[in-house]
């Protein structure tokens, strides 16, 4: 909760000494409230004032970074619904490695996930984390798994090890790697010490929000800020509700013990169920999702969902303005023109594909606006379309001289024809869904 200038003034020494560079304490307080000054400029501020202001400037959900290299930054969210603003820090997605699986399997999994990269609408999709769970009796197996993951991966590591000796040695191996420690049992003083000396984050687990609040409060009071919360409760229904309760408490009630990223571990089931649970929890506040198995199809699906949910609703995804081949076009295939709003592009290209016709789709740069908005805003007008068509040298790339424009901008056809000598401009349908019947009814070759 932000403090007002008056609230801040009450915390200051009220001596108007001017050492802060501002003549009076009141003026200084106003500057802090407007974020134009920081309390540290006043050499006489009390500890109490520092604590109060510090708490007020804490973000509602902390941003926590796991790993030194390519590990994710998670949390830092400010809204409950993406339409209120946007979600900022995409869910970190990781794979569970069990030390009982044996070295070969572990190395396979690490290499597979490390090597996984796909591209989708201009974004590289890849995983962020490994979760190393020690479920065998041998300390050596745990340390070996940690070393393998460290040596073969740049991703963030979360380690789960009930054997404290092994855990300490594991942390020693990861000295500069900022791992996170997953605690299977309630937080102890020793865990707090370990987190402090190693610089690791702590994943605190609890079965109920009250239990979680008690533990988190203890960690906060001892000065820890890199915390991650795991409160899955009973099944998927429990996890969805607990996540909703924790995040709402943090954002709407400024309940500090829950102002941290949320951790979800998906139970081992068949891929269909794992994906169903992951998809639901990705939407409802999971900052980290740990998957039980490596499955490319599942990863690609979940990454696509993450891309969708974490898109800024105010800034539509744009596709690259250029010529796209739909199907297997020849130089005689028809040319369609549209805008680079991603949804427009997807729907138009999908419907052209559905029609069974191959075509060249010219996607103009309209800064991500849809056809009518771009036309109204002067971004999808004859001059600009004609210029773009010349810039991309369309005339050299195709033999056809027929170009189809969206039905919604029928009014520009005459002017566009004037600006594109030699071309016949054909007014297409208004709705993309009608493209299949449109191509049947009009002679485009």
């Amino acid at each position: 909760m932000a403090l007002s200038g008056l609230d801040i003034f009450k915390l200051l020494p009220k001596t108007n000494c001017g050492d802060c560079g501002v003549p009076t304490c009141m003026a200084f307080a106003m500057k802090i409230a407007q974020k134009k000054a920081e309390l540290s400029s006043c050499p006489h501020a009390s500890e109490e004032a520092k604590a109060a202001l510090g708490a007020a400037s804490e973000p509602p959900v902390r941003l926590v970074k796991i790993g030194a290299g390519n590990g994710p930054e998670v949390g830092g969210e400010t809204v409950l619904f993406r339409h209120e603003k946007t979600f900022f820090h995409p869910t970190g997605i990781g794979l569970e490695i069990r030390t009982s699986q044996g070295e070969d399997k572990i190395l396979d999994d690490v290499r597979e996930l490390e090597g996984y990269r796909a591209e989708r609408v201009g974004e590289v999709l890849k995983a962020d984390l490994f979760f190393i769970s020690h479920d065998s009796a041998e300390k050596a197996a745990f340390l070996r798994a940690v070393s393998l993951a460290k040596a073969n991966s740049t991703k963030g590591l979360v380690i789960d090890c009930p054997d404290e000796e092994a855990l300490k040695e594991g942390l020693e191996l990861l000295r500069n790697d900022r791992p996170a420690i997953y605690l299977r049992r309630p937080l102890t003083e020793r865990d707090i010490e370990m987190a402090k000396t190693s610089g690791a984050s702590l994943v605190i687990t609890a079965s109920s929000p009250q239990d979680l609040a008690d533990q988190t409060e203890k960690a906060r009071q001892s000065g820890l800020t890199n915390l991650i919360l795991n409160c899955q409760g009973n099944g998927l229904g429990g996890a969805i509700q607990n996540n909703a309760i924790l995040r709402r408490s943090a954002l709407k009630k400024s309940f500090k013990p829950f102002g941290f990223p949320l951790f979800i571990r998906i139970a081992d089931a068949d891929g269909f169920e794992s994906l169903a649970a992951s998809a639901a929890l990705l939407c409802k506040y999971a900052s980290i999702i740990i998957l039980p198995r490596f499955d490319k199809a599942l990863l690609y699906t979940l990454f696509t969902l993450r891309q969708n949910i974490y898109t800024d609703p105010q800034k539509p995804i744009q596709v690259d303005p250029r010529i796209y081949a739909i199907g297997d076009p020849t130089p005689d295939s028809p040319v369609f023109v549209t805008t680079n709003f991603s949804l427009t592009y997807f729907i138009v290209s999908g419907e052209i594909e559905n029609s069974g016709t191959s075509a060249h789709l010219v996607v103009c740069d309209t800064e991500g606006q849809s056809v009518l908005t771009a036309w109204a805003g002067g971004k999808f007008v004859p001059e600009k379309i004609a210029k773009f068509i010349k810039d991309i040298k369309l005339e050299e790339k195709v033999k056809t001289r027929k170009i189809v424009i969206p039905g919604f901008v029928a009014q520009i056809s005459g002017e566009l024809e004037e600006k594109l000598p030699g071309w016949e401009v054909i007014v297409g349908c208004q709705e993309a869904a009608d493209i299949p019947s449109f191509v049947k009814s009009v002679n485009l070759v």
Binding site: H83, F272, D295, F346
Partner: protein, 332 residues
């Protein structure tokens, strides 16, 4: 530190809508389906009532859609052109709680089948299964109106869900629904205000609220899902906040939308990073369905048997954990 669950008491309640009619009610169904009645956000049992689970329907056709995905053919190949048998398989083997009969083949450019033929298909499916039906039309106004009128009349009293009317073409079909007692889907293109406006227009015709379901249009995963997701969240939030013109159950169509998506069916051989295409076909539908359930979907029309199984299992599990009174959130 004492923690209190931050409860939101919503003034609004989603309308309860029942589809289907048993013999007592003038139909021939062995059971009816009710959706809606929620007083809180999806699955928020800790702060509201959720008397009915979301319902999963599966779809049969009067004409196999062009480019029908291979991942579905393996389940339906021998019955694709036998809608009655396909419907029976959906219900008996795959757990469909309703069946949607899609009459795409009546579209003038997709077969131009007659209204009488459409009626025969619907009757065939009615005889084959005992669950309530959804009758799904298309965007050719004139022909769709003619077909839907005939189908409404021929199924009088069955209380089918007639899918759909839109802002520029609602009167004829809504009137037929009123005359022959059916329930109606109001479809609008991913926009809160347009959705609200169509509901108001239907209200002006005295269309009863408890016979109305909204379809704010489904974008498949990767193809506009985020728009559908946020529009549905906004509609559900507004409905619960007391906007009665938005407080209706919502229908989504993950099956039909995902069936169009290349990424859901392209083979792994061509796109190694996309993984096994057989699983991916179902995964795409699951991710679309689960995220939109979270956003407020009450009724889902799906295609892939493995997707239906996984989604129904998760819905059952979520509701079961609540019935047991055992979810973690309330154990404070």
């Amino acid at each position: 530190m004492t923690f209190e669950i931050p409860i939101e008491n919503n003034p609004g309640k989603i309308v309860e809508v029942t589809i289907g009619a048993t013999a007592d009610q003038g139909g021939t169904r062995s059971r009816v389906v009710t959706v809606g009645g929620n007083t809180a956000l999806p699955f928020h049992f800790f702060e509201g009532r959720h008397p009915h689970r979301p319902v999963v329907a599966m779809e049969v056709f009067d004409k196999t859609p062009a480019k029908y995905p291979d991942s579905l053919r393996e389940y339906y190949q021998d019955v694709l052109d036998k809608p009655g048998e396909m419907a029976r398989r959906c219900v008996a083997d795959f757990g469909a709680e309703m069946v949607s009969v899609r009459l795409e083949g009546t579209h003038p450019e997709k077969g131009n089948r007659s209204a009488e033929e459409a009626v025969e298909v619907v009757k065939d499916v009615l005889a084959a299964v005992e669950v309530p039906l959804i009758i799904t039309g298309h965007s050719h106004f004139e022909k769709n109106n003619e077909v839907m009128k005939k189908v409404c009349e021929a199924t009088a009293g069955e209380n089918c869900l007639i899918n759909y009317v839109e802002t520029n073409n609602y009167k004829t079909i809504a009137a037929a629904c009123l005359a022959y007692h059916h329930t109606l889907v109001a479809q609008t293109p991913i926009d809160v205000n347009l959705a609200k406006q169509l509901n108001i227009l239907l209200g002006d015709m005295n269309f009863p609220h408890d016979r109305l379901v909204m379809d704010p249009l489904t974008g498949a995963l990767g193809y506009g899902l985020e728009y559908s997701y946020s529009i549905m969240e906004r509609i559900r939030n507004d409905g619960l906040a007391g906007d009665r013109m938005l407080a209706f159950p919502m229908l989504i169509t993950p099956g039909a939308e995902c069936a169009k998506v290349k990424e859901a069916r392209a083979v792994e051989k061509d796109y190694p990073q996309w993984g096994d295409e057989k699983r991916r076909g179902a995964y795409w539908e699951i991710a679309t369905a689960m995220s939109l359930l979270i956003a407020g979907a009450d009724l889902l029309i799906m295609d892939h048997p493995r997707a239906v199984e996984a989604v129904r299992k998760q819905i059952a599990e979520i509701y079961h954990s609540n019935e047991e009174g055992g979810h973690g959130a309330l154990r404070t």
